[in-house]
Structures are given as structure tokens and as C-alpha cells.
């Protein structure tokens, strides 16, 4: 699946999702929380990630985050917006600095808001019109509230968003 980075560019995806009973690959691997806890991974050099399901609060995996470079969050349906709160909490409460990747049924129209909540990358459907994703990202560049993408804490002062 194509992956868009924070600049809207299609980038290669080095990560592999690994089932609990599958052997660990050499490269970056996305594991479940259970496996991250159960297995001794201290000798491993390649980066680790976790797939957070929409019902799990980031606090529940807070102990694992310092070892992780990637958290994926998911929109099972475009209307299901729990991922927005998860992403914000990962940044704001857990202080997570790695990659947050949005997966699932994401609409181009949600991409800007996901970015504002702290998401870094998004998986887009095979064959998606990347130019449309770009346009949807750019079309509204004024925001009325502080979020994770603006360093300034100006409260309601209207801000023009930096185009990534």
C-alpha cells in the first residue's frame, strides 16, 4: 500500500507487520503488545513498532513506547475517529516522538486533521489519486485552535498552518 510522508510524498515502506506466531524478520517489525511484552527483544537492533487497535488507550502501552519507533493507529471506518484522540494522546501525554502512522479507511479529507493531531504518515489505498490527497491537504490552511502541529500556544489566535 502506498505510504505518504508528512510532506505528502509517496515513500517506501520498510516496515513489516508480524503475526504473533511468525518468526521475527531482520528489518523493522510491527508487533502486538502481547508479543512485545512476552519476548526478550533486548538484543535486537532493527526498529520495533506496535499496532494500536482503536479500543486501546495509549496509556495501556505506555511502558512499551520508549523502545518503539512506530505506532500504527487505525480507522476501521472513516467515520470512526478514535484514532484522532489516540494520536494526540501519544504525542501529548506519552511524549512519543517516533512515527505515528494512520491506517485503515482514511479519507484524503481527514489527512490534514490527522497531521494536526500528531500523525506522521498515512497508508493510502492502492491506486489512490495522490494529487487529490495533496489538494485535500492544502485546501484549508487556517486553523482556529492549538494542536500538535503548532509549537505556539496562542489559544484561539487564528493561525495560518505551515504547509508541510
Amino acid at each position: 500500500m502506498p505510504l505518504l510522508d508528512e510532506h505528502g510524498r509517496a515513500v517506501a515502506d520498510a516496515w513489516v507487520r508480524v503475526a504473533d506466531d511468525a518468526p521475527l524478520p531482520e528489518g523493522p517489525a510491527i508487533l502486538t503488545a502481547a508479543r512485545l511484552r512476552a519476548e526478550d527483544l533486548s538484543g535486537r537492533n532493527a526498529p520495533l513498532g506496535i499496532a494500536l487497535d482503536p479500543a486501546t488507550a495509549p496509556e495501556a502501552v505506555a511502558d512499551l513506547l520508549p523502545r518503539l519507533s512506530l505506532v500504527t493507529i487505525a480507522l476501521p471506518k472513516a467515520k470512526d475517529g478514535r484514532a484522532f484522540t489516540q494520536a494526540r494522546a501519544l504525542r501529548e501525554h506519552a511524549g512519543f516522538r517516533g512515527e505515528i502512522r494512520a491506517t485503515g479507511h482514511v479519507l484524503p479529507d481527514q489527512w490534514r486533521m490527522l497531521r494536526r493531531c500528531g500523525v506522521t504518515t498515512v497508508e493510502v489505498p492502492e491506486g489512490a489519486d495522490l494529487a487529490q490527497w495533496r489538494r485535500s491537504f492544502d485546501v484549508v490552511d487556517i486553523a482556529f485552535q492549538p494542536a500538535q502541529d503548532s509549537g505556539s500556544a496562542l489559544g484561539l489566535r487564528r493561525q495560518r498552518l505551515r504547509v508541510a
Binding site: 467515520k79 486533521m113 489538494r135 485546501v139 487556517i142 482556529f144 500556544a153 496562542l154
Partner: protein, 571 residues
């Protein structure tokens, strides 16, 4: 449909100088243009098949566009129900040009047009944007238009001005990155007066702006109210949230809801269900979130509050005395004027002034409907007599907030000329009714015609005055858009084996003594519902003690006498 929007930067419209609506600046206008471009693009993608109807639906809803029974319905935001005369004239123009010459004011202080064509929407959006208006977030699972006291800035009992904070909520909630894909719609009401005129406890969040002894501003916050198929009154979360933490606290409430609200069952998705199911744990979670969030980031800067408050500064009232001779003489001279004034004129904090409520409930009419001519007439009267400002009430009427008492007679004459002087505010014919089967795709029964029948039955003003204050609310299905649960008399139309049946609840209230009405018994067929209301009101008149309103009597004597009167003959 061709290229939809050429981004134009419309010039600032010419507004009445003293109308206290929030004044857009270039940033606000540019934002609106961007949003129009975005939605126009979404319409194009839908027409090209790049968006499925399922994907398009939440996007169009978020822009106020519903698919109804016969056509699209376009709902326009009137932020906290405040308009100026220029804006109202533009709505009249839109009603005439793109609808059937009418608009319909709603219980959320918005206006909707019931006969909209999809291909006209971009043009209507531009016409709205020309007067700083739009349909954004009037629908969909996001934070909707915040409602407030229609007498804000005028009511003598007001402790703090709710408009300032309603505007702050409007800005904060506009395309909020985290709260635009909530489990369900989210409605906030805010008041600054001890007397609740906003149905605070029927809202997802209700806010009371307060002042403490030191003169500081803070907020009492309620959450978890809502009607629909499971009516619940809101629970108080806090007596006092300091002003600087206002948005932080709202964020905390919304965060808990967005994370934990039900996503599987649309009937369990409102925050009221979460608050009810979690019990005290809901508040504990909100407080925990509030305690750990970086509050500095969400701090409401007093400077910004001051900037926004400047938009709502009092208009330049002349110094006048109460009860001027011109007003007194007119009252004595003209009984029809006096009857209207008794229901429609309310005291004002500024001596020599009054607020005027304009009834959109003519006998036999459609509650909340207003013709283009009437809108223009109200706009003209507002300009001449009320600093060019108009309010929409949550009971689907209009208000001229600031009128000189010595000009009330002229206002009345102007209203009478266009059929807007029905003297029934607060009486049995001042009915709230949802669109029901006449427009709404979800309806299980007619709603408007029931309102019309009841209104005609009680057309006689003396009889209405004898009955006194009584609120009748009618919904055409279980979704309860007519707020029947909180009407003194609530009427819910359901489908019973293919026929309309109307269930009646009694004793509801939308104000400080908020209550959910109790079902009185089995439903009534369409052609008997007016008789049932008649029986209920006759029972009240026969049993009332001196000075008791309908709802007082009901609370004192309980449902039994009403049940007996309604069902004895049949049983």
C-alpha cells in the same frame, strides 16, 4: 455542473454599524473561501464517482446538506442565533431565488431551506459567504452550532455575557482536528443568566457563565443531557472552571467522549449514554484528563477574550426613562397592541428599552416558517428600531433585542403589516414542532399538521390567556427533534401498524426545573390528538389552584386525574 468556485475574496459587507454580531476579519473570510473550495471539490469528486455515497455523506452533512424526503435540505448556521439585518436580507434573497420563498428557523437557532437543489449549493454558499455565513458543522458527528440565551446582552438577570464564550466555542470547535469525527453529534448550550432559557440540561454540554465574589469569570459545566429515544438530563460536572481553563476543560470532556463513546450502535452513541453508563467514573476520567493535559497550551488568553468581547459591547443606548408616556398612551389606547405587548415585550436592562419577541407561530401556520417578505420586513424594523440586530430563539421565534419603549408601537404596526404580530408567546399555540412527515425522511408521523390543528383549536386569545403559560412540543419520530420530552405537553408521533399514533407525555420542562415528561397512557390516532390536548387542558383548568401554571398543577396533582379524563370514557 461546471467549475464550482472561483475563489473570490469578497469585500467586507456593509453591516448596520451597531449590530453586535461577531465581525469577520480577512482570516475568517479566507477560511470560509477555503472551505467553500474544499466542499465544492468534494461535490465534484462525488459526481465523478471518486467518493462513494457512504464517504460523501459525512462530508456533505458536515457542510449542512441533508437528503430529505423530496429534496436536499440546506441548513445554515446562525452562530448562537444572532444575525444582523444585512444577513437576514440575504437569507430572504436566498429563500426567494433558490427555495420557495420561505426559510424555516430551527430549535438550534439555525435556518434551513427545505427545497435545495444540489447543483445550486455552490452558488448559495457564495451568497452566504458574501455576508459571512455558511452551513459548516450544522450537521454531522461534530460540534454543532452553540446555542445561547436569545436575550443575551439585554436581559436584566444576566450575570455575564454568554455571547463572548459562545463565539470562543465557535472558533475553537471550527474544524477541530480531534473532534470532527465524534461518535455522534455534539450540542453545546451556554447561558449567562440564572434563569435557564437555553434548555441547558437537554444538551451534550451545558455551560453557565458565572462571576465570583472577586469579579472573576468562571463556568459551571454540565454534561450528558440529550433527548432522542433515551431522554436523559445532564449531570453537573463542575461548579467552577476558571476562565483560562475553559477550553481545556471542554477538551477534556470531548477527549473522554471521543475515546470511549459507543461506535457500534447509533442509538447509544451520544455522550448521555456514556455519562449514564460510566456514572461517577465519567467525571473522574474528565478530571484526570484535565489534570494531566498541558494546560498552558489550551489556556484561554484574557487578551483574546477581551478582543472577542469587544464585538459584543453594548450598542450606544440613549439615556431614557422606563414607561415613557408614548408607550403608556399606546397601551391604554389600543387593546390589540396591549395584548401583544403583554406576551411579546420583555424587560431590558437598559432603562427605556425592551426586548421584543416576534412570534413565528401564526394560528394555523407552520412553526418557525418565515417568508422572504417577512424576513425583509423584520430586517427593516431591526434597522430602524433595534440597532440592526435580530436573534433566533430555540423555540423557533425571533427577537429584536434592543427596542426603545417609545417605539414599540411602531414596531408592532410594522410586524402586524406582515402577519408577525400574533400575541401568543409562551401560550398554547406557541408550539415547537419538528418537520415530521412533511419533509423528514426519518419521520413516522406528521408533526406540522398536528401543530396546526392544535393552534386552530385554541385560536381564541382569551382562552389561551386563561390557560396561561403552556409549552407544547411535537416530534414526528423517536429522534425527538421537537423536544417533546421537555414540553409541558409533549406529543410524539409513531407508527402503529401502519397508522399514525400520538403518544402524550406530561410535565416536562426545559428550564431550571428541567424534567422529562411522563407518558400518560396509550397513544391517540391523528384525528383525536387535538381532543386529547383539549381534555388535558380542561382538566387543568378545572383543577388548578390560584396562580398555578399547567405544569405546576400537574406536579401537584400527578397524572391520575389526566389519565382518568383521557381514558375513562374508553375504558
Amino acid at each position: 455542473m461546471n467549475a464550482l468556485v472561483e475563489p473570490l475574496a469578497p469585500p467586507a459587507p456593509a453591516y448596520p454599524p451597531h449590530a453586535r454580531t461577531y465581525r469577520y476579519d480577512e482570516v475568517d473570510r479566507e477560511f470560509l473561501q477555503e472551505r467553500i473550495a474544499e466542499f465544492s471539490g468534494q461535490i465534484e469528486r462525488r459526481l465523478r464517482g471518486e467518493l462513494t455515497e457512504d464517504e460523501f455523506k459525512p462530508l456533505r452533512l458536515m457542510n449542512g446538506l441533508y437528503l430529505q424526503l423530496h429534496a436536499y435540505m440546506y441548513r445554515i448556521a446562525i452562530p448562537y442565533g444572532i444575525l444582523n439585518a444585512t444577513q437576514l436580507r440575504q437569507l430572504a434573497m436566498i429563500a426567494r431565488r433558490w427555495d420557495r420563498g420561505f426559510g424555516h428557523f430551527t430549535t438550534r437557532q439555525n435556518i434551513q431551506f427545505n427545497w435545495t437543489k444540489l447543483e445550486d449549493v455552490p452558488a448559495i454558499m457564495r451568497a452566504l459567504a458574501a455576508v459571512d455565513m455558511h452551513g459548516i458543522q450544522t450537521s454531522g458527528n461534530c460540534i454543532r452550532n452553540t446555542t445561547t440565551d436569545e436575550y443575551a446582552g439585554a436581559a436584566p438577570d444576566e450575570a455575564a455575557d454568554p455571547r463572548v464564550y459562545a463565539e470562543i466555542i465557535r472558533q475553537w470547535s471550527t474544524l477541530h482536528p480531534e473532534f470532527t469525527w465524534l461518535p455522534r453529534k455534539f450540542k453545546i448550550a451556554i447561558t449567562g443568566a440564572p434563569h435557564d432559557r437555553v434548555a441547558l440540561q437537554a444538551h451534550d454540554v451545558g455551560v453557565v457563565v458565572r462571576k465570583n465574589a472577586a469579579g472573576e469569570t468562571g463556568f459551571e459545566v454540565w454534561a450528558g443531557g440529550g433527548l432522542g429515544r433515551t431522554p436523559v438530563l445532564a449531570t453537573k460536572l463542575r461548579d467552577w472552571v476558571p476562565e483560562e481553563d475553559f477550553l481545556a476543560y471542554l477538551e477534556a470532556v470531548l477527549r473522554v467522549y471521543n475515546a470511549l463513546g459507543n461506535r457500534d450502535n447509533i442509538y447509544k452513541a451520544r455522550i448521555k449514554i456514556l455519562v449514564r453508563d460510566l456514572g461517577p467514573d465519567f467525571l473522574a476520567r474528565v478530571e484526570a484528563e484535565f489534570a494531566r493535559m498541558p494546560r498552558q497550551r489550551y489556556r484561554l488568553d484574557p487578551e483574546i477574550v477581551a478582543q472577542i468581547a469587544a464585538h459584543f459591547a453594548p450598542p450606544p443606548f440613549p439615556r431614557l426613562a422606563d414607561d415613557p408616556p408614548a408607550y403608556r398612551d399606546a397601551l391604554a389606547r389600543d387593546a390589540a397592541f396591549a395584548a401583544w405587548a403583554r406576551q411579546s415585550v420583555r424587560p431590558h436592562r437598559q432603562p427605556g428599552h425592551a426586548s421584543v419577541t416576534i412570534s413565528l407561530k401564526p394560528i394555523g401556520g407552520i412553526p418557525g416558517d418565515c417568508s422572504a417578505e417577512q424576513m425583509e420586513a423584520v430586517a427593516a424594523l431591526a434597522e430602524r428600531h433595534a440597532f440592526g440586530e435580530i436573534r433566533v430563539t430555540h423555540v423557533q421565534n425571533l427577537v429584536l433585542p434592543h427596542v426603545r419603549q417609545d417605539e414599540l408601537f411602531a414596531v408592532w404596526e410594522g410586524l402586524r403589516a406582515v402577519g408577525l404580530a400574533t400575541p401568543n408567546i409562551g401560550l398554547v399555540s406557541d408550539i415547537i414542532a419538528c418537520p415530521g412527515m412533511d419533509y423528514c425522511a426519518l419521520a413516522t408521523a406528521r408533526s406540522i399538521p398536528v401543530a396546526q390543528m392544535i393552534s386552530e383549536r385554541f385560536a381564541d386569545l382569551d382562552r389561551q390567556l386563561d390557560i396561561g403559560e403552556c409549552f407544547i412540543n411535537i416530534s414526528g419520530c423517536i429522534n425527538a427533534c421537537g423536544h417533546h420530552h421537555i414540553g409541558h405537553i409533549g406529543i410524539l408521533g409513531v407508527d402503529k401498524r401502519g397508522a399514525e399514533s400520538y403518544q402524550i407525555t406530561l410535565g416536562g420542562s426545559a428550564t431550571n426545573d428541567a424534567a422529562i415528561g411522563e407518558l400518560v397512557g396509550p397513544g391517540f390516532p391523528y384525528d383525536q390528538v387535538t381532543d386529547a390536548v383539549e381534555t388535558i387542558l380542561r382538566t387543568y383548568v378545572a383543577r388548578r389552584a390560584a396562580g398555578e401554571r399547567f405544569v405546576d398543577t400537574y406536579r401537584r396533582i400527578g397524572p391520575a386525574p389526566f389519565k382518568e379524563a383521557l381514558y375513562a370514557a374508553a375504558g
